[in-house]
Symmetry: C2
Subunit: 112 residues, 2 copies
């Protein structure tokens, strides 16, 4: 599913930055305007806006303009796909590592 793969690329890329993760954490509380979101960051507004654009491009946030004020809110759907990928694979890895542990323990027992 190439489309799903591109979505995962974008979501993981969006999450790979502390500013963008902090914006998402901030929006967990309630929607916020660009200036409210930018306020805690020591960053030029154009750079900050680029982070918002990355988040909006992958669908993790949605924005709406009322007059001259743009307000952002979270949209958690894309996160679900990414989370599903991680949970699925970590579970599988855990099984493999347990199998490897069992194998190594059996080898040790045999050596005794």
């Amino acid at each position: 599913m190439p489309n799903q793969s591109i979505e995962l690329d974008r979501v993981f890329y969006a999450l790979a930055d502390p500013t963008r993760r902090a914006v998402l954490e901030r929006l967990s509380d309630h929607p916020a305007t660009v200036s409210e979101l930018a306020q805690p960051f020591d960053m030029a507004l154009p750079s900050f806006t680029q982070h918002l654009n990355v988040l909006e491009a992958c669908g993790l946030v949605r924005s709406q303009k009322t007059g001259r004020v743009r307000t952002y809110q979270i949209a958690p759907r894309p996160l679900k796909a990414a989370e599903r990928w991680m949970v699925k694979h970590r579970a599988m890895w855990k099984i493999r590592l347990n199998q490897l542990d069992d194998y190594l323990n059996t080898m040790k027992e045999k050596k005794r």
Copy 2:
């Protein structure tokens, strides 16, 4: 916790690429050598090795050299931190969106 944040940056960045995700999926089955891992990809070996380096730098894989052959295996611990971040925030977002839904439904009821 700045160290944890840097770890999250690296893990999410590592996951933001279909080749690297495919390598992790492949290593879910069992450890594999560089040439075994590279085989399904139509990619020059130096480019492919860079992907492996990204995965190893963030701790998602470990490698071991025996003679001239380097073998990779998965190391799921860093994924746990990333997964924890996602699960925590998606759960929180779900609550907020449900609250928003409830609010909108109450508004609709009132209009009737």
